[in-house]
């Protein structure tokens, strides 16, 4: 897919909660095609502590409204500065980067998307994309408490939403891998993104139940386009770049 360096315009900066903002970006020209699982590299301005670009998942693309959504968790200076972007500010992105999820062959496959924390970001676009292509799917979202479950309404508009919270304030109490649905239904495909321990637990479940499973990895990146070789992960084929051969990996390929 052709990659672009674009200056997008902030159409809206929605404060989701103390830790999260949703940036709705747009442009005069039509946004280029982007696939679920792909990400962008954001140039952060006015931040003396942020030298490199910051990778952020594509949260959603609304081609009709010509909108690109980025869900940003504030963890350091770079994401803080992103969260302070104002309507009509310009932000420079490289996009679209990375690979995408592998869709099942059969449209009637039982598909589960498992997300935790800001890892739910790519799953929204994946869910919407699946739906658009005729695949029904369910979401299993985990968080510490209800406040940590993001974009619930958006997820609910796409498919069934199951949830676990550590404090029991929403859905079942516990971790995602403890959710009862996993004992009841045999899924054909599981896609997951979230904290590494969570993804590892999901991968273990998938292996145990012999389920197709793809995970979306995070990693520190410099270039985002396969040029620097800084973002490798260890696979059965040796060190490969998360930014080009990932971020989405079949668990069979990972050395987990």
């Amino acid at each position: 897919m052709k990659k672009f360096i674009l200056d997008l315009i902030v159409k809206e900066n929605v404060r989701v909660n103390k830790q999260y903002v949703l940036l709705i970006l747009t442009a005069d020209e039509a946004l280029p095609p982007m696939l679920p699982g792909q990400f962008v590299e954001v140039k952060v301005e006015n931040s003396p502590n942020t030298f490199l670009r910051r990778p952020i998942s594509i949260n959603y693309v609304d081609y009709k409204k010509n909108e690109l959504w980025l869900l940003v968790q504030i963890v350091g200076d770079g994401t803080l500065k992103m969260s302070e972007l104002k309507e009509n500010d310009s932000v420079n992105l490289i996009l679209p980067l990375g690979n995408t999820f592998t869709l099942p062959e059969k449209k009637d496959s039982k598909i589960l998307l498992v997300g935790g924390g800001v890892g739910t970001a790519p799953l929204l676009y994946l869910g919407a994309y699946l739906k658009e292509n005729g695949y029904p799917c369910s979401f299993l979202l985990g968080g510490r408490s209800k406040d940590n479950l993001l974009q619930l309404c958006d997820f609910e508009s796409i498919g069934e939403v199951l949830a676990t919270t550590e404090d029991g304030s929403f859905g079942e109490k516990g971790f995602v891998t403890q959710h009862s649905v996993l004992n009841k239904i045999k899924f054909d495909a599981i896609y997951t993104c979230g904290p590494t321990p969570m993804m590892k637990a999901v991968a273990e479940y998938a292996k145990r139940t012999n389920t197709f499973c793809e995970v979306s990895l995070e990693n520190t990146m410099a270039c985002g386009i396969g040029a620097c070789l800084c973002c490798v992960t260890d696979t059965t084929e040796g060190h490969v770049c998360v930014c080009t051969e990932g971020p989405v990996f079949n668990i069979e390929k990972l050395k987990w």
Partner: protein
């Protein structure tokens, strides 16, 4: 319109802007962002005799105005390059130069020999300055004796333009530069990365898997500029300057200090189209200041 042509040995550059090894992949990674044939020279990834997996993750730490990397020369080896990569890049209409590394003198020699036969590779850059590998690498570039060994041996088998990339992690870089010049290097390029380190105070652990790594980016520019200035006065062969170049102004500073050409490394990560911007910026500078050729600004610092 100012003339941007520059020669480095037999190597003819349409302009003095090259890309730094390890930061530009094989060039093609950047072709969505600009016409890479406009670049004076593309120096591709560090290539070794045999495939290398490089160092474990994490390999990257961000630092004030720079970054540390510990890639460790991950590449599929020279044979793979010759058979699989060369065919895909040989028709790019610019100079493709291979950066060569090794753990033993014989590795360098064998790799250079294999590259000598490739029509569309007019030059190699000997990397005797990689700080991220246990054996060889920087060790060759920090003593005259070993630098002379490797350059002398490669010079015997490699007939085209031989650039030697110097390490800044030395007391006197001019000594090494003169030594490799005497062995027949056609040019020296500098600087490779400065050896640095990052620590995660919270976890009380090094950030990089290899503890130390190579520092690059604007943070190192003052050191790089000083070394280019020193080396340009010390040797007769053309000097290629790099280290922290982000803009055309930075590039011009290196040329004023004595560099005949420059390389852009880390800046490619921040702006994948930076090379053409630097070329255009140099051109404007020359035109604005009534220089008819880029050669006029080489070493033109008034001191």
């Amino acid at each position: 319109m100012a003339n941007l042509n520059i020669n480095i040995g037999d190597l003819q550059l349409k302009n003095p802007v090259m890309t730094a090894s390890g930061t530009f992949g094989y060039g093609t990674e950047y072709s969505d962002f600009m016409d890479i044939s406009r670049i004076g020279g593309i120096i591709v990834k560090g290539t070794t005799l045999r495939e290398r997996q490089g160092n474990p993750y994490p390999r990257l730490a961000e630092t004030p105005s720079g970054m540390l990397n510990a890639v460790g020369l991950q590449n599929k080896g020279v044979d793979y390059f010759v058979n699989n990569i060369y065919p895909t890049i040989k028709d790019v209409d610019t100079n493709v130069i291979v950066n060569v590394s090794g753990s033993e003198v014989s590795d360098y020699v064998a790799t250079a020999e294999k590259l000598n036969g490739l029509d569309k590779i007019p030059a190699i850059e000997l990397n005797i300055s990689c700080p991220n590998v246990k054996e060889g690498g920087m060790a060759f570039g920090t003593s005259c004796v070993s630098a002379v060994q490797v350059v002398g041996a490669v010079r015997k088998v490699y007939k085209k333009t031989l650039i030697v990339k110097l390490s800044p992690n030395v007391t006197d870089i001019t000594e090494i530069a003169r030594a490799v010049e005497a062995e027949g290097a056609d040019s020296v390029s500098l600087i490779n990365t400065l050896l640095g380190m990052a620590i995660d105070a919270k976890r009380r652990k090094p950030v990089l898997s290899t503890i130390t790594g190579g520092l690059s980016g604007p943070a190192v520019k003052p050191v790089a500029l000083r070394m280019v200035w020193q080396v340009a006065k010390a040797v007769k062969v053309p000097v290629i300057g790099l280290g922290g170049i982000m803009t055309a102004t930075d590039a011009i500073e290196f040329m004023l200090a004595g560099a005949s050409a420059i390389q852009i490394g880390t800046a490619n990560f921040i702006d994948p189209a930076v090379c053409v911007k630097v070329i255009e910026g140099i051109e404007s500078y020359l035109n604005d200041n009534n220089f008819s050729s880029v050669k006029d600004i080489i070493g033109a610092l008034e001191v």
